[in-house]
Symmetry: C2
Subunit: 356 residues, 2 copies
């Protein structure tokens, strides 16, 4: 039998985790033959509820679930973790300014970054789901100087899946028959869902199959506002679909995306002229436990403007919290480039990764 | 590619369904190669929320999910359904007597039984999760005279899984290394979790590994009261673990339990001296899409008393709603015995089943 892997989840008593944990424990993340240890983190006030969730996990008699531990201290929650889902974040309160929200989360993710740096398995992969996810991911990474920035990722798979789902529905085809679409930039209302390079059935350009005005004027806005629409409809924010997207993004990252293009918020290496040093959603393919940013996507003027707008938002967010971060060192800067993106030079790729 | 199967779910905007639907759509029920059509039923007041759930299902871009339809009429919700999860039920309101609760649910399940009878696929398998599950299942079955009573089942797998999980934790062994335990009777505080025949690692009698007083005085009460304990801890009733148990019970029923003993609330055929004509949880093995009640379990005096108490509760529940039910005909009675329980005579087994 395989050795169990340690999976840390923060915000573990919240709604997204309530969907996520049972999927992880049943084998949806790593397969039906991979035992799991769950290390769950919550704030003190939620420990009673968290205990209830742990009891329900016990009540499922999952064969793969070897151990559950509950933590209010990130240092112990992340100890030895191979994978981490960072779901807990401070939600925007009434009358809260964007800067206040960023600051409140900077505090949480700085502490968790340090904990990951000092206590997690050095091979950790950490997925940030808690919003503002991209900038939270940056804070996490900057506070974990010993961990390669390409071991962190912000979740934009929900936006990617939403675009795929809505497009499949529009075209009345199966989601698996669509490939090549992506979501660029920030997981926020500025994100840019891009279907210009999407194909159906490996051969048909989707952009020719839909009305361009519908795409530009309706679909993009619908994806950007989908979260708000769900809240209005359900009275609660997306939880089950967010959990599924978290599973999808992490599973593809770990086990590979089968040569399919997926979207991930990753450390920008300057590809497509996007500023380095921010976590930006790019089109990627995952293999060998790593992502590679796809380089040959053609962008039209509309796309360039959209990509710039969401980049600017991320740079503004970064500026608002920059003073709280450890200095960006030459060393940090180098690590950003460890990721080999042309996919052609795997020997070099591993060599450089191993130097870290 | 396989033809899609139609799965109807009632109470589809509720908390259990919110965990269940995403598991079904991701292939946890029938495997990663079986396309699904979801037919979701809710009361009028919850249709807006249900639409939100459907949107989230769309947002997951599940390859297996070919169609979702939303219904407030059970006749259309169950049309052509191959499998049904009956989750929606009237919860006990403040100051509500048990008889009132049974009556309120009798109305719901009578209507749904007729709808299943008239519109579902004749091979339907229907699992009742909504409480009081056993008696709701009886009402359903009696209102569906053209459907064999062994095509209905009440969910006691949650109790079975809870017993397995707690016992595995106590013994510090894996749940899959435990077999042979079962839960008898009603899914209520009178249920009887029986570990007298449970074995660990195919060879060790578990009853010899635990303190008998602990089993009798602590474990049984803990399982009986587990639902209340979860509510106290989480502030909400069990949803994710109930959904997982529903998946487990239905999957084993359809695809087989791999010769493992599981508990299902099924129409009593008089086995172990339990009165015929009530849905009672028995130890069963599932194969060929059918359950068989295991006949050779030895019962001690303690067990006999426990089994009788929970049987009596079910007979009382039946008496309270009997006047609302269609008459029990000779034909109903015969159908109860279609199920061949010795497992030795499969030709006869099928022959008799095909006569229905």
């Amino acid at each position: 039998m395989k050795q169990p892997v340690r999976i840390a989840v923060t915000g573990a008593a919240g709604n997204i985790s309530y969907s996520l944990l049972f999927k992880i424990a049943s084998g949806e993340l790593l397969g039906k033959d991979q035992p799991i240890i769950l290390q769950l983190l919550e704030v003190e006030d939620s420990m009673e509820r968290l205990k209830g969730v742990a009891m329900e996990l016990e009540d499922c008699a999952f064969n793969l679930l070897h151990e559950i531990s509950l933590h209010s201290n990130p240092n112990t929650a992340f100890a030895g973790a191979h994978y981490a889902f960072l779901i807990g974040a401070k939600p925007r309160g009434k009358g809260m300014e964007r800067a206040d929200l960023l600051m409140a989360n900077a505090k949480i993710f700085s502490e968790q970054g340090k904990a990951l740096n000092n206590y997690a398995n050095p091979d950790i992969k950490a997925l940030v789901v808690g919003n503002p996810a991209n900038t939270n991911c940056l804070i996490l990474s900057r506070n974990a100087p010993d961990i390669n920035p390409n071991q962190f990722s912000a979740m934009t798979r929900l936006d990617h899946n939403r675009t795929t789902g809505l497009l499949a529905n529009k075209l009345a085809i199966n989601p698996e028959d669509i490939d090549g679409l992506c979501v660029w930039g920030n997981h926020s209302a500025t994100m840019y869902p891009d279907i210009h390079n999407a194909i159906a059935y490996d051969s048909h350009d989707i952009i020719d199959l839909v009305d361009y005005a519908w795409y530009q004027e309706e679909l993009i806005a619908k994806i950007q506002q989908r979260g708000a629409e769900i809240i209005q409809q359900r009275g609660l924010s997306s939880a089950a679909s967010a959990a599924q997207a978290a599973i999808d993004q992490m599973r593809d990252w770990i086990l590979g995306s089968d040569d399919r293009l997926v979207s991930m918020g990753v450390m920008s290496d300057g590809s497509y002229g996007i500023a380095e040093g921010i976590y930006y959603s790019f089109p990627v393919v995952c293999r060998f436990g790593r992502y590679e940013i796809i380089q040959d996507i053609s962008i039209n003027n509309f796309g360039t403007d959209m990509m710039k707008a969401t980049e600017n938002e991320l740079l503004e967010e970064k500026q608002l919290i920059e003073h709280l971060l450890p200095k960006e060192t030459e060393d940090n800067y180098k690590k950003v480039f460890v990721q080999d993106n042309d996919g052609s030079n795997l020997e070099n790729f591993y060599y450089r990764a191993n130097k870290i």
